[in-house]
C-alpha cells in the first residue's frame, strides 16, 4: 500500500476530511505506522499551537468605535464622522459633570452597564497650571461616563454623496450636551491661548494602563489618582512643547506610553521621495538654469524633529532649499510697482574657496492688513485614528485658533473633516465669529480611517460655494498625509487639485505628526494646488506659520514664479544649483505660461544659491574634460568673446503671473560681482551658506569637500544677527546635535 499523501495526512490529522476519506486513511495508516506517528506529532503540535495562540495578547476596539458601529442607521452605511459627534457630546457631558459637582461623586453615579446600547466614552480634561489650583476654571478630571446614545444626531453634519438627508430631519436629542454648552458660552472664557489649552486625550483609546487601573480601582485615594494625572500632564509639557514626544527606535511613541501595547508596534512608515543632488553643469553646454521657486519650509521642521530626538534625518528628508527658506533674511521690499524685489550677493564659497557662491533672493511685497483681500478659507482636517496623538489633531486645533485670530468679519471660515467619511462641521462662518469657530473645533475628535479624497472634494465644493471673486480662496489641508480611502490615485488627486487651482482656489498643506508622515505626497499636493506646504510639529511652529507669517501662508501675490539664470561663460566655467532638485525646469518651460510653478505669498522671501566655478580655475568638478569635443568647443567660446567683454556674471530672469492673471510678466536683473572673501559677506549670506552646507552634510552629499558640522557651526555662529525669534540659535543647537550624531 502506497504511503498516504502528506498534505492529505495533515488534513486528516487536523480533522478536515469527510467520513469516507477518514475511513480510507485509517485503513492505510495500519500499514504505515511511521505515518501514524506523524499524525500524532501533528496533533500534538496543533494542540500546542492552539494553546499558545489563545494566550497571545489581543486588542479590542475602543469604546467609542464600538459605539460608532452600533449607531449606524439600519440598512445604511455610516457616512458621518461619528467620532466628532460623540466627542462633542462627551466634552459637553464632562463639562456638565465638572460644573455640577466633584467628579468622583458624579462618575460614581453613572453606571455604564445601565446604559444598554449606550457606549462609554472616556475623556480627559486637564487645564490646570498647577495641581494645587483646583478652581472652577482650573478643572482637572478624568471622567468615565456614559454619553452619546445611538439616537443622538446633529444638524451640522452633512453626509457626502447622494444619500438622502433623512437623518438630519430627526429631532436633535442631546439633552446631556445642550445645557453645558450654554453654560460654557456664558461662562467667562479664559483668554484664548494665553493659558495652556485643555489637554484632551483626543485618542480615547490611548489610556495609559496605570490610568485605567487608577480609575477603576475605587479604593485608591484621590491623591494617588491626581498624582497620576499630574505626572501625565507634566510629562506632556516637560520639554516646553505642547505635544511632547519620546523617541522610540526609528519611530516616535506618544508620551505617555502607548496603550494596551499590541503585539505588533506600529512600524515607521514615513516616506520620502528620493533626492538626487544637482550636479555641476558646464556653462558652455547649458548656459541657462531654470527652476520654479519653492517657499516651503516643511523639510526644516521635519529635520529639526529628528535632530531633537537625537537622530540624523534620512537623507531624502533633507531639502536644502526648504532649510534655507525657513529663515528670514533682511531683504528690502520692492520699490516699484512690482510684486518682488531681486537681491543678488556673492562671495567666495566657504566649502571651496576657489569657487564663488551667489545668493539670489526674491522678496515678495508685504500686504498691509487693511489692503489684504478677504479670505474664504476652508480647513480640511484629517480626523482619522492616526491623527489622535497630541502633536496632531490637538495641535491642528490650536493652529486654526491662532489663524482665526488674524481674520476679520470680511473673511469666511469653514471646516470640513474627513475620516471614514467626510462631513462639514462648520459651514461658512464670518472670521470674526470666534465663538462659533472655537466651538466647532472643540467638537472634533480623531477616529476612523482616512478618506482624503472625499474630504478634498467636499472642501473644494464648500470653497466654491462661498467663492470670493476678488478674494483669497483657499483650502487648508491639515493631515499627517495618511490617506487611506477616497481619491487615492495620486495622479487623479493631483489633477483634481490642479484643476481647482485654475478656478482660483489654492491649497495650503499643513503637515502634522510623525511616524507615518507622508512627506512626498503632501509636497506634491501643495505644488499642484498652487500652494505652500509647511510642517507643524509644535505650537511655536504653528505660531510662525499661522500668526507671524499668516499673510505669506495665506495670500498669494504672484503665482507660477520661475527663475532662469543665464551665466556668462567668459567669467565662469560651470555652476551648480544648491537644492531645488525637484523644482528644476527645462529651459523651454521658462517662457511657457502653461507650465505650472511655485506661488509666492505676501512678504515671503525665497533664497537660492549657485556655486560657480570661475573660468580657468578647473574644469567641471567631477567631470573629466571631454576628449573629442574640446576642439569643437573652442569656436563657441571664441564667439562668446564679444559678450564676454561684458563684466556681468549672470542675469536673473524672473517670470511670474499675478494671482488672477494667465499671462506672465518678465523681470531681468543683471548681476556683476567682485571676488570677495566669505568673511566679508553679509551676516545673512554667511548664515544661509551655513544652512546650505549643513544640508549637504545631512544629505551625505559627496559633492562638497570634507567638512564637519563643527566648521559649519563656526561660520554660522558669527552670523546670527538679531535673531528676534531665536530661530537661528535653535539651528545652531541642532547642528551641535548633528555634530555628535554624524558618523
Amino acid at each position: 500500500m502506497k504511503p498516504i499523501d502528506e498534505v492529505q495526512l495533515t488534513a486528516y490529522a487536523l480533522g478536515e476530511l469527510s467520513t469516507a476519506e477518514r475511513a480510507e486513511i485509517e485503513a492505510r495508516l495500519q500499514a504505515h505506522p511511521e505515518q501514524q506517528a506523524a499524525v500524532d506529532e501533528i496533533r500534538a503540535l496543533a494542540a500546542r499551537l492552539e494553546a499558545e495562540l489563545k494566550n497571545e495578547p489581543d486588542v479590542a476596539l475602543t469604546d467609542e468605535q464600538r459605539q460608532n458601529i452600533l449607531k449606524a442607521p439600519s440598512g445604511r452605511l455610516a457616512h458621518f464622522p461619528w467620532r466628532a459627534l460623540s466627542g462633542f457630546a462627551a466634552v459637553a457631558a464632562v463639562l456638565a459633570i465638572a460644573f455640577v459637582g466633584s467628579f468622583r461623586g458624579a462618575s460614581r453615579s453613572l453606571d455604564p452597564q445601565r446604559a444598554g446600547a449606550t457606549a462609554v466614552s472616556r475623556i480627559e480634561v486637564a487645564m490646570a497650571d498647577s495641581p494645587a489650583d483646583r478652581s472652577k476654571d482650573h478643572l482637572q478630571a478624568v471622567v468615565e461616563l456614559a454619553a452619546a446614545t445611538p439616537e443622538e444626531k446633529t444638524g451640522r453634519l452633512v453626509p457626502l454623496g447622494n444619500e438622502s438627508l433623512h437623518d438630519l430631519a430627526e429631532p436633535v436629542a442631546m439633552p446631556v450636551a445642550v445645557a453645558p454648552v450654554k453654560e460654557l458660552e456664558s461662562a467667562p472664557r479664559p483668554p484664548p491661548l494665553a493659558k495652556p489649552m485643555p489637554i484632551m486625550a483626543a485618542d480615547a483609546s490611548a489610556e495609559a494602563p496605570a490610568f485605567v487601573n487608577g480609575f477603576h480601582d475605587r479604593s485608591r485615594s484621590e491623591s494617588d489618582f491626581s498624582g497620576a494625572l499630574d505626572k501625565k500632564v507634566a510629562c506632556r509639557i516637560s520639554d516646553g512643547r505642547p505635544a511632547s514626544v519620546r523617541s522610540f527606535g526609528g519611530a516616535w511613541a506618544p508620551c505617555p506610553p502607548a496603550p494596551d501595547a499590541p503585539f505588533v508596534q506600529p512600524g515607521n512608515t514615513e516616506s520620502y521621495a528620493p533626492i538626487q543632488g544637482n550636479a555641476f553643469k558646464r556653462i558652455a553646454d547649458e548656459p541657462l538654469s531654470t527652476f520654479s521657486i519653492d517657499v516651503d519650509t516643511a523639510s526644516y521642521a521635519n529635520i529639526r524633529r529628528f535632530l531633537r530626538a537625537g537622530q540624523m534625518p534620512p537623507p531624502d528628508a533633507v531639502r536644502i532649499e526648504e532649510m534655507i527658506n525657513y529663515f528670514s533674511y533682511d531683504y528690502s521690499q520692492p520699490k516699484e510697482d512690482v510684486p518682488f524685489a531681486v537681491h543678488v550677493e556673492s562671495a567666495a564659497c566657504p566649502w571651496n574657496k576657489a569657487h564663488q557662491l551667489v545668493k539670489i533672493g526674491l522678496k515678495g511685497r508685504e500686504l498691509a492688513a487693511e489692503s489684504r483681500p478677504a479670505c474664504n478659507l476652508v480647513f480640511l482636517l484629517d480626523v482619522s485614528g492616526s491623527m489622535s496623538s497630541e502633536n496632531k489633531l490637538p495641535l491642528v486645533k490650536k493652529a486654526i485658533q491662532l489663524l482665526a485670530r488674524q481674520l476679520t468679519a470680511n473673511d469666511r471660515v469653514s471646516i470640513v473633516v474627513y475620516a471614514g467619511a467626510a462631513g462639514l462641521v462648520l459651514p461658512s462662518t464670518p472670521g470674526s465669529d470666534l465663538a462659533t469657530i472655537d466651538a466647532a473645533l472643540e467638537r472634533l475628535q480623531a477616529g476612523g480611517s482616512t478618506a482624503g479624497g472625499d474630504g478634498i472634494r467636499l472642501a473644494y465644493e464648500e470653497a466654491l460655494k462661498n467663492l470670493l471673486p476678488d478674494g483669497n480662496n483657499r483650502v487648508v489641508l491639515c493631515t499627517d498625509g495618511d490617506f487611506n480611502v477616497g481619491i487615492t490615485d495620486s495622479e487623479e488627486l493631483a489633477s483634481f487639485i490642479a484643476g481647482r487651482a485654475r478656478q482660483g482656489i489654492f491649497l495650503t498643506v499643513l503637515g502634522f505628526g510623525m511616524g507615518n508622515y507622508k512627506d512626498d505626497r503632501l509636497e506634491t499636493l501643495a505644488d499642484k494646488g498652487n500652494g505652500n506646504y509647511a510642517y507643524i510639529d509644535s505650537f511655536s511652529e504653528a505660531r510662525k506659520n499661522l500668526a507671524e507669517q499668516a499673510a505669506g501662508t495665506l495670500f498669494a501675490i504672484a503665482k507660477d514664479v520661475k527663475l532662469q539664470i543665464e551665466f556668462n561663460p567668459a567669467r565662469f566655467d560651470s555652476y551648480r544649483l544648491v537644492g531645488y532638485e525637484n523644482r528644476v525646469l527645462a529651459k523651454e518651460d521658462f517662457n511657457n505660461d502653461k507650465k505650472d510653478a511655485g506661488e509666492l505669498g505676501a512678504g515671503h522671501a525665497v533664497t537660492a544659491f549657485y556655486e560657480l566655478v570661475p573660468a580657468g580655475v578647473e574644469s567641471s568638478p567631477g567631470v573629466d574634460p571631454l576628449k573629442y569635443q574640446a576642439a569643437e568647443e573652442k569656436p563657441a567660446v571664441q564667439e562668446g568673446k564679444s559678450a564676454a567683454a561684458s563684466p556681468e556674471w549672470l542675469t536673473v530672469k524672473l517670470r511670474y503671473k499675478l494671482p488672477r492673471e494667465d499671462k506672465s510678466t518678465k523681470i531681468e536683473v543683471p548681476y556683476t560681482g567682485s571676488f570677495s572673501d566669505f568673511e566679508n559677506a553679509s551676516g545673512d549670506f554667511r548664515f544661509a551658506a551655513g544652512v546650505a552646507a549643513a544640508g549637504f552634510l545631512m544629505r551625505g552629499d559627496s559633492a562638497i569637500p570634507p567638512l564637519s558640522f563643527r566648521e559649519v557651526v563656526a561660520w554660522a555662529s558669527s552670523a546670527i544677527g538679531d535673531d528676534p525669534n531665536g530661530y537661528r540659535r535653535e539651528f545652531l543647537d541642532l547642528l551641535k546635535n548633528a555634530a555628535v550624531l554624524a558618523p
Binding site: 498534505v7 499551537l49 495562540l53 497571545e56 486588542v59 442607521p73 526609528g250
Partner: protein
Amino acid sequence: MKRDKTQWIQEVVARYERPLCQYACRLTGNFESARDAVQDTFLKLWREDILDDERTAPWLFRVCRNRCIDMLRKDKPMQPLTDTHAAILPAPDKSPAEEAGLRESASLLLQQLARLPARQAEVIRLKFQHQMSYREIAVVTALSESNVGYLIHTGIQTLRQQVARI
C-alpha cells in the same frame, strides 16, 4: 426589524471584536489601523441581511482582510501588486526593539510561527487561533481549499522540524 439587527450586530461585535482585531493587527502591523479596519468591517454589517452563525465568521474575516489589504495598498501605492497575497502580506517590518520585545514575550513556537512565510502563518493562525476549517479559510483568503491545505501542511511541517530541533 431594526431592533433585531442592532441586537445581532451587538452580539457579533461582542463575539468577534477581539479575534478580528488580533487578525487585523497581524495583517496591518499597526493596531490603530487594525481597529479602524475592524470598525469598518462591523459597519458593513448594516448592509447585510442577518447571516447564519456559521457564515458570520468567514464573512467578517474576509471583509476585514480586504479592508486591511486596501489600507496597506493605499499606504504603499508604489508597491507592485502582481500577486496580491504575496506582495501585500509579508510580515510587517519590525524594529530591532520590537523584535526583542517579541522574542521575550512569545514562546519559541510562536517565534517559529512568526518566521514562516506570511501566507502560511496567516492560514495557520486562522486554523489554530480562530478555529476555522480549511473551507472557511478558503473563503476568507480567496484561496482554493486545496491551496489552503497545502499551505497549512507546509507550515506545519516546518514547525515540526524546528520544534524537533529545539
